[in-house]
Amino acid sequence: MSAFSHPFFLHALLAGTGIAFAAGLVGYFLVLRAQVFTGDALSHVAFTGALAGLALGYDLRLGLFAATLAFAILMGLVGKRGRADDVAIGSVFSWILGLGAFFLTLYATHGAADGTAGVGVLFGSIFGLSAGQAWLAAAVAVGIGLAVLAVTRPLLFASVDEAVAAARRVPVRILGIVFLVLAGACAAEATQAVGSLLLLGLLAAPAGTAQRLTDRPYRALALSAGLAVTEMWAGLALSYAAPQLPPSFSILAVATAAYAVTLGVVRNRPRTRLRPVQAW
């Protein structure tokens, strides 16, 4: 009996492929623009949004998308001033996570479900998707992917050299906000697959691997999406073969292993632009 005869595996494959495709594309730009910390923020917001949606009696996805999109727009409007102050951002995130814990207890005590709902949101439950959820997730993910591809050229320009792009009348600020909104939607999507705590790995690992392998932007973008989808498939297969491994762990383990191998094997090419390394 093959894996493909199980509906739950087919649903996971369908949703996972779409989500990995979108995450690979969005993640490449996140890494290129050094906005991984923003991705981290979005994952915290996704958790609270999902549980707020559940606790207030709405669909989980409604809360997810509402919270991440609102936060993405807010971050985009605050702009660079918000990026500078690590302490302020960290404080706000912890508080948002605390709120998430509040909604989790609210849901567990007043809702019909048990306390494991939070675990599903935090670590994902891709094997638990229904057919309708899987199709919707795949459709939204493909939409995000196409939107990223539509703005790829100006976004690349704006990410690599913002000042020159602005001088050439590329709408840098609007592009930044559009990208953050896409990243927010992608985070909401990825939460359904690997959970809000682990989506950072799905965004960062394939993109980091692709950037290590090639310097050409379009090739790296395609490679990032391809790697993400392949890693998703491999992770799902691994979890199917060894049921004691949760799918979220398998997907991330494969992605991390691929990144680690690339780091070890591919030598770092001398780069023309050396930026100061982020302080620990």
Binding site: A34, V36, S94, A101, T105, G115, A205, L274
Partner: protein, 310 residues
């Protein structure tokens, strides 16, 4: 005292309420542990904010989750797992070379991947240890129930040790944190100090995780220190303020959490964030005030001769 009497709720008589809460040994232990953790986290966190190492603190707090999960899986005490993983993680971070190795984007991609992978490992340990799923929430979001006296003693000993080391290296560390280059030129061992501090940070994270949970460590580590540094620029004064804020926030959170069904992590973060927001607002208002007070003060002085005050 019977359960109905004990569960009577907040009576707006603080003395009676505290007496009622402290009638339970587990609450007394919770207060002891909370106080120890708050003091240690505030002091270490104060240096962390000064050194702009909150990202390292975040990474270490994430490591504490697989640590506790692994310890539970292996059947040893969770506290051992917290300390082993956090201090180990601190040593690894200290060993990572700081320069070269690609750009900032590669660095952040690597950090993000490592964090997500460690959390995934924690989840794997939890999944392998069946029937533990309810405990995940306690690990992630904190719990003050069931702290034993042995645990309190362990926390206190580790905290005393960490604070003792910090007291020894406090002055050179402050120097190295404020101006590393000048300190290095004055033969202060900057690199060794940074390694020692990271290990202390690991110990503080491991302690704070046991009260606030893995995800909310920032509440005790960053927020009191950040608020105190908003209030005053003088090092000694803001250090004392950070400790006071942390202890106060922890006590208030413990009392509130006792009377309500919601997790303590939520109250700690909310109170700490409230203090931080107040401090920032206060500072913003203080920055505005000179302009406001200047105008009425200047106008009479500038115009008095022209108008001819009677």
């Amino acid at each position: 005292m019977n359960w109905a009497e004990a569960n009577a709720g907040w009576s707006w008589n603080p003395a009676a309420d505290i007496q009622q809460i402290w009638a339970f040994p587990f609450m007394v232990n919770a207060f002891r542990a909370g106080t120890v953790v708050a003091v240690l986290a505030a002091v270490i966190g104060w240096y962390m904010v000064l050194r702009k190492q909150s990202f390292a603190g975040h990474t270490l707090s994430v490591i504490s989750f697989p640590g506790a999960a692994c310890a539970t899986l292996l059947g040893v005490s969770a506290g051992l797992g917290y300390f082993a993983f956090c201090v180990g993680g601190a040593l690894v971070i200290a060993a990572i070379p700081r320069s070269g190795q690609g750009g900032r984007s590669q660095e952040s991609a690597l950090t993000g991947t490592v964090q997500a992978f460690l959390l995934a490992c924690g989840f794997l340990f939890v999944a392998l240890y069946k029937g533990f799923l309810g405990g995940v929430n306690a690990l992630l979001f904190g719990s003050f129930l069931g702290i034993t006296t042995t645990q309190v003693i362990t926390l206190a000993v580790v905290a005393a040790l960490a604070l003792g080391i910090l007291a020894l290296i406090g002055r050179p560390l402050l120097f190295a944190s404020i101006d590393g280059d000048v300190a290095a030129a004055r033969r202060v061992p900057v690199r060794a100090l940074s390694v020692v501090f990271l290990v202390l940070l690991g110990a503080a994270t491991a302690e704070a995780s046991q009260i606030t949970g893995t995800l909310l460590v920032f509440a005790l580590l960053v927020m009191p220190a950040a608020a105190a540094q908003q209030i005053t620029a003088r090092p000694a004064l803001s250090l004392v303020a950070a400790v006071l804020i942390a202890v106060l926030v922890t006590w208030c959170a413990l009392v509130t959490a006792y009377y309500s069904p919601y997790p303590i992590g939520f109250y700690v973060t909310t109170f700490a964030f409230g203090v931080y927001a107040l401090a920032r607002t206060g500072r913003a208002l203080a920055a505005i005030r000179p302009d406001v007070s200047e105008e009425p003060a200047n106008t009479p002085v500038g115009h008095a001769p022209l108008g001819g005050t009677p």
